[in-house]
Symmetry: C2
Subunit: 228 residues, 2 copies
């Protein structure tokens, strides 16, 4: 989950470079946000320096990151804000709607479902599943909590492309397997479990305990500082 290696060449983005690091990808998301702010502020142009200042990187880093996908700036001038924002949106793949399914109708699932930031970025939760018969049938806004046993049918019907696992750790693997079976190839996993998935499925983990433990490490080792 650290690098991306090019294998075929039919993607919508020209992609001169075959690789991009996970950290570069994260930075692109940040630039995206900064560009939205600049655009809202009516700025027509930004320099790599300005983009860098906002995100705690360097201008060289910004230029390198962008250069993986083409050259969008004008020398002596900087980058045209609306154009670059649009190009970045296309590169990240957020210039369209994505259907998302949540599995696990617990508190965390509810929080994600209610989170407005998702919808605003084109992520639509179109299905919620659970294994608990007391939760199945409940209304979640315009959705009804479905039986996880119906996952495959429903996911195919609703054209879900992204799955979010918000179950307890012990259910996570079988839920992920069902997602894969239903044709989902991108999974965001909040369960503290190491999922084993086919090569063609992209997985990202969000592990809250690990983040807290990293904070503890820093607190415990007071003589160590967290470097940039």
């Amino acid at each position: 989950m650290t690098k991306l290696v090019k294998t075929i060449t039919n993607s919508p983005v020209p992609a001169m470079n075959p690789r991009i690091s996970d950290s570069a990808l994260r930075r692109l998301s940040h630039y995206m946000r900064f560009l939205e702010a600049f655009e809202a502020a009516g700025r027509g142009t930004v320099s790599s320096e300005e983009l860098a200042d906002r995100g705690g990187t360097t201008s060289a880093q910004v230029r390198k990151d962008l250069s993986h996908f083409g050259s969008f700036g004008k020398r002596g001038l900087g980058y045209p804000v609306p154009e670059l924002r649009a190009r970045l949106a296309a590169i990240l793949g957020i210039d369209r709607r994505w259907n998302v399914a949540l599995v696990g109708a617990g508190k965390l699932g509810a929080a994600l479902h209610a989170y407005d930031g998702f919808r605003r970025r084109g992520f639509h939760v179109v299905a919620v599943f659970d294994a608990d018969s007391r939760k199945i049938g409940r209304r979640w806004g315009s959705l009804t909590v479905e039986d996880v046993a119906c996952l495959e049918t429903s996911v195919r019907e609703k054209e879900v492309e992204i799955g979010i696992v918000v179950t307890p750790a012990d259910a996570a693997q079988e839920v992920a397997d069902a997602m894969v079976e239903a044709g989902i190839t991108a999974i965001l996993n909040f369960a503290p479990a190491k999922l084993v998935l086919p090569e063609n499925v992209t997985l990202r983990d969000v592990n809250l305990a690990i983040e807290l433990e990293a904070l503890c490490f820093a607190l415990t080792h007071d003589g160590w500082i967290v470097g940039r």
Copy 2:
């Protein structure tokens, strides 16, 4: 938030090595979990190979990671499970209780508050704050939602060391400032905002939109595969 650089040498852990990468730190958390499983299974000893298999790394990586903090194994035998688990817990700083404050009594805050995995690892949510007068005074289990204006007093009184920001983006910076004012030096931020904090404060961000965008990138660039 990528490296740790040693500056003083009075930490409880000997720490022969002055640096450890963020990725190594994450792996240590994973080893911790595997060791707990091995211990529960009654295993007296594990090899770096076995630890690596579970976590998708290599045995050399495991040995290197551990070697930053000392040498815990026996050549030809492997690592003693209970001892290594205890040592790792001490290294990560999770061999004690940590008091945590949540700011933002919304759905995500509620989910984190209810999350059992935290308490099980020694993280105790001892205070919840919000700015919304309709939420202030509500009972959350044994806690009462407090006015964020009282944050400093309450945080000092309850000896909170870790703060979790679960507010909307526009409130995040001032909440973080208040936390720092109250003496908190470790912050976990869920708000999609770039926080600016003093050097001595450790910050970690969990940005759900960025994780989803990375999935989109992978889905959009179908010819690219996510490498290890």
